[in-house]
């Protein structure tokens, strides 16, 4: 499959751009309406985190094609401050930005695979996958 697979997050509008592209990819891959909404929402949360906490970064899409399953991988990368305490941001209701604090634990629930790689001062990379059912 050939597609533009990366969205740079530089301004607020890019959040919408990222989730629209992600939804398109999800649709092409054969995800149902509910999974498309889950994926688009997860992307929106990840892209907003980049915009709010790192300023700039990117959201990359990859198709994962394994023998028995196919999925959409979403990778959110930034070179922002990083996350000091990962277990804290994974708590429901935790927010430093006055939001609803649904962010990362919510994304984890919406997706099938979720991994954070981060180092304080070095930036953050979040990898997440949704499998086509």
């Amino acid at each position: 499959m050939d597609f533009k697979s990366c969205v740079n997050i530089r301004q607020e509008w890019d959040i919408v751009g990222a989730r629209q592209l992600g939804r398109e990819k999800a649709k092409e891959l054969g995800f149902g309406t509910v999974d498309q909404a889950r994926i688009a929402t997860a992307i929106s949360e990840l892209a907003r985190n980049i915009y709010l906490y790192a300023g700039t970064g990117k959201v990359r899409f990859e198709i994962v094609d394994q023998l028995d399953k196919k999925g959409l991988k979403i990778i959110a990368i930034d070179e922002g401050p990083g996350i000091r305490d990962v277990s804290q941001v994974m708590q429901d209701g935790y927010s430093t930005s006055g939001g609803l604090g649904a962010g990362l634990p919510g994304v984890k629930r919406l997706m099938d695979f979720f991994e954070i790689r981060t180092e304080w001062g070095e930036g953050t990379e979040i990898e997440t996958i949704k499998w086509v059912r």
């Binding site: 607020e12 509008w13 989730r19 498309q36 909404a37 929106s44 907003r48 962010g103 634990p105 629930r109």
Partner: protein, 118 residues
């Protein structure tokens, strides 16, 4: 992008038909409160039939606008939330418990009428 707000007797009707970015959402919040103030509307229906994603930010803006309108004396009902959106919101951890909802615009107006006139 500006979201049109229609007035019908004592009610304001809004149908959100764009993919809401943060700025449009905040603009809408301000526009709606101003319109309530100017028109003296007592009820508001925000129809979300065409909205296929509500993330935590948009949910917060919508929840806030309901509370703000309430402070000003106008009741808000959200209508037409799609099944996929409802499922996604709950999984995301957003419950919007203090928000009145109805299946569609018609039911929303009936609900408002019952509350405000009945």
């Amino acid at each position: 992008m500006r979201i049109p707000i229609l007035k019908l007797q004592n009610y304001l009707l809004i149908s959100i038909q764009i993919d809401l970015d943060d700025q449009s959402a905040i603009q809408f919040q301000e526009d709606l409160l101003n319109k309530i103030h100017k028109s003296g509307a007592t009820g508001v229906v925000i129809d979300l039939t065409s909205v296929d994603i509500i993330d935590s930010f948009i949910a917060k803006v919508l929840g806030d606008v309901v509370t703000m309108s309430d402070l000003m004396g106008a009741r808000v009902v959200l209508t037409g939330i799609q099944p996929a959106v409802a499922m996604t919101l709950i999984e995301l951890g957003i419950h919007m418990q203090d928000v009145q909802t109805a299946l569609d615009l018609e039911q929303g107006l009936i609900k408002l009428r019952q509350e405000l006139e009945g």
